[in-house]
Symmetry: C2
Subunit: 169 residues, 2 copies
DNA sequence: ATGATATACTTAAGGACATTGAATATCAAA
DNA sequence: TTTGATATTCAATGTCCTTAAGTATATCAT
C-alpha cells in the first residue's frame, strides 16, 4: 500500500551495541503492552483504567489497609492524582476508605471483595492475551526471560526512585 | 516500604506456571518504564509527552511524509487523539503539516530538523537511564534478553492488531 | 493551654489525551 | 448533481497529570 509501514527493525544484522537495541525493544514493548492492556481494561465487563488497575493490584497484594501516601509511593503516582483514582475506585465499590483511628489525618484504603473478584477476572483475560504474545517461546526461554526480567525490574526501581526523590537534593 | 514484591522463590521445579510470573513482570516493567520515561520527557529541556515522543519517533524512522491515518495506525492512537498530538508537535515546530497534492483530503506530516535533534537528545538521556537499569546484566544475558524481547514484541503486535480491528466485524 | 510547625490529605485550575459522535471537505461515481 | 465513501477535524466528556493552595490533625516549644 502506502509503504511507510515498514517496521524497519526486523532485518539489520544488529551492529553490536545491543544496549541500544534493548532500549528500543523495552520502549516498544512498554508502549504496546500498555495500549494492549488498555484495550482490555476498557471492555464493558471491566471499565477500569491503568492507574486504577495498578492501584487495585497493589492493594490486593498488600492484603491489608494502606495509607494513601504509601499507596502513592508504591504505585508511583502523586498524592494528588491518587486522590482522584481512589475516588473513582470507591464509587465503583472496588475499595473502601476509612480514617486511621489514632491519627485521623491518615486515610486508609482497602480493596473490597468485589475488587478482588474484578482483579482475578482481569488477570484471567490478561493471561490469554499473554499466552498469545508468548506462544513462540520455549520453556527454557521463558525461564531465562523471567530471570532477566526480574533483574531489569529491580534496576528500574532504582532508577525511578532516584528520579522521584529530590531532583535538586 | 515498597515491599509486597516478594517473588517467592519456587522450591519445586516447574510446578509454578512461569507464564503468570512473566505476566506480572512485564506489567510491572511496562508501568515502571513508562513512569520513568515520563519523568525524563517532562524535564525542561524536552517537554514532550509519551504520545508525542512515540509519534515523533515513528516519523523519524519513516524518514518521509506520513498520512495522518497511517501514523495513527502505526502508533496505535485514534485519529482523533492524533490530531491533538500533532497540533502540539507542530506548535513546538517539531513537525510540519501539509496537504497531499492530489488528494487534498489527506494531511501529510513530516518531522523537522529540530524534531530530529530533539529525538537524538532524548535517546541519549534515555540510554543513560537504561544503562543504570541494565547494569547488572552480563553480556551473555543481554544478548539472550534481546532475542527474547524481539519475539515477545512480535507476539504483542499480533495481539494488539487483532484487538484493534473489528471487535464485532 | 497557646501558638507555631509539620503532616497527611484534598481541592482547584490548567493541560494532555482518550473515546464517541457529529461535522467538514474532498474525491469518485451513478 | 446527487449520492456515498474517505480523510480528517471538532466538540463534549471523563481521566489523569502537575503545581499550588487549602483544610485538618498532630506535635512540640513555650
Amino acid at each position: 500500500m502506502t509503504s511507510a509501514h515498514q517496521t524497519s527493525q526486523a532485518g539489520r544484522a544488529t551492529e553490536r551495541i545491543p544496549l541500544e537495541e534493548i532500549e528500543r525493544a523495552i520502549m516498544q514493548i512498554s508502549w504496546l503492552a500498555q495500549r494492549q492492556f488498555m484495550q482490555l481494561l476498557d471492555e464493558d465487563r471491566f471499565r477500569v483504567t491503568l492507574p486504577q488497575f495498578y492501584t487495585l493490584i497493589y492493594l490486593q497484594q498488600a492484603g491489608e489497609e494502606c495509607k494513601m501516601s504509601d499507596l502513592a509511593d508504591s504505585t508511583h503516582q502523586s498524592a494528588a492524582s491518587l486522590t482522584g483514582v481512589v475516588d473513582r475506585l470507591a464509587e465503583k465499590l472496588l475499595v473502601d476508605r476509612t480514617r486511621h483511628k489514632r491519627d485521623r489525618r491518615q486515610v486508609m484504603v482497602v480493596i473490597t471483595v468485589r475488587g478482588i473478584e474484578l482483579i482475578s477476572e482481569i488477570r484471567l483475560a490478561r493471561r490469554e492475551q499473554m499466552q498469545m504474545a508468548l506462544g513462540q517461546l520455549s520453556e527454557q526461554e521463558i525461564d531465562t526471560f523471567l530471570h532477566i526480567l526480574d533483574q531489569v525490574l529491580s534496576g528500574m526501581v532504582r532508577v525511578i526512585e532516584r528520579g522521584e526523590g529530590g531532583r535538586l537534593a
